[in-house]
Symmetry: C2
Subunit: 250 residues, 2 copies
């Protein structure tokens, strides 16, 4: 049995709360939030508080608030072991008097879509081996997958995730915009997108790269540019140029 | 039973040949290629020729060669119904004396990885309804999914596919480069990539967009830029700017 307290009611906090509630061997003792109704709508049996001086003791105290609020909120916590859930904040930014750590789930969270924690990567960091074992126990109860990453590595993976998630999603946005303009259903692209992401589980993305940029097909590139809006052209040219530069390196 | 002849021995041709061979109700009568050994290594029972004047008759004659060679090769074909498999070449570019059509499988083909044609989209175009029915029959024998697209629409979906496949793959390349530099295993990003592509099957990519660009988080953007190489910064800035412009439209 492992006891936890959570601070926050954003996407990460809500997903963690829902996951913890389903596991008998995790004791969610309390949630600190200024929106107590949000939490109690989720589950009326959760004990909540909006007074940080009333925070209960727990094996792990999890701060799941906005990046900029982590330092200040942590300075009010007297619990023995406090972690935050951010990809880009240093472990040392925690100002609690006790021991510090990081519990960063590398996944895209939204309020609407419930996340299955099974197999999702959780990046861990701590000051002592004992605390690391405690965090690994929590990861294993969630059936997630733990990765030991320094604060430095975690910031790097956070920016890598922006490319892999946010920026690839923007490529889909532009593809969808083209489809909508010419009355083509976007689902025609689903199998291609699926194949693209399946391939990079087997070979590196550099090796998986195909298309007119990769094969230096100037004629097709020219034809494509003629079909695009000015803003789309700018992105097309920039990424084409980048693919060609990477191609030279290999 | 439907009979086909294929011209070509590139990725698309090889994948089609392998798929056709597995289906009893498709009669692959002949393959025209200058690399007969390649085809016969695949399956020694396939009839091949490198003399286009010896091309056999078939219900559908499929030209699966490079875009720039389609026009010239088609002018030598006397068969009744000839289609090409290109996403970016006009149906009218076919110079055969008989009827014309298009059979464009919207998927990323490579020699190494066998494609499962089940459920993959095939974009069809033809001059007559009868020919369209013939193409739809072939699609249904492959258990693929047919979409009726004009040459104009097909060119648009071809460029949309470059964004959805080639450009999103380049985002993975940059993410992988960051991981390699800091000794982080790339597979830590697989669940995030999977979630990103699952989401856009349920909601539009515009609505699925998250990240610092979307929420105008200038501090995180600044921090990210400081972690990147000059080339990575250029891409990061360009796409961030584009996400913010799209955000304003919504």
């Amino acid at each position: 049995m492992i006891s936890v307290v959570i601070l926050g009611s954003g996407n990460v906090a809500l997903q963690l709360i829902q996951a913890f509630l389903k596991i008998d061997t995790i004791n969610l003792k309390q949630v600190y939030t200024r929106n107590q109704n949000d939490i109690n709508t989720l589950n009326s049996s959760i004990e909540t508080t909006n007074d940080i001086s009333l925070l209960k003791k727990a094996d792990i105290t999890i701060i799941a608030v906005s990046d900029h609020a982590i330092s200040s909120i942590s300075s009010h916590i007297k619990n023995s072991f406090v972690v935050h859930t951010s990809g880009s904040v240093d472990m040392k930014s925690l100002n609690n008097i006790g021991r510090k750590g990081v519990f960063y789930p590398l996944q895209s969270f939204s309020k609407k879509k419930k996340v299955d924690f099974k197999n999702i990567p959780i990046c861990l960091e701590s000051e002592t081996n004992e605390d690391l074992q405690k965090l690994e126990e929590l990861v294993s109860l969630l059936q997630s997958k733990s990765y030991l990453l320094s604060s430095h590595q975690r910031k790097k993976i956070h920016v890598a995730a922006v490319f892999a998630n946010n920026f690839s999603n923007h490529m889909y946005t532009i593809a969808n915009e083209i489809c909508e303009k010419y009355n083509i259903p976007f689902d025609i692209l689903h199998p291609l997108i699926e194949e693209t992401t399946n391939k990079i589980k087997i070979i590196t993305p550099e090796k998986a790269q195909t298309g007119p940029a990769k094969r230096n097909d100037a004629e097709t590139i020219e034809n494509h540019l003629n079909l695009l809006s000015k803003k789309q052209q700018e992105i097309y040219l920039k990424i084409t140029q980048s693919i060609q530069e990477y191609g030279k390196k290999l």
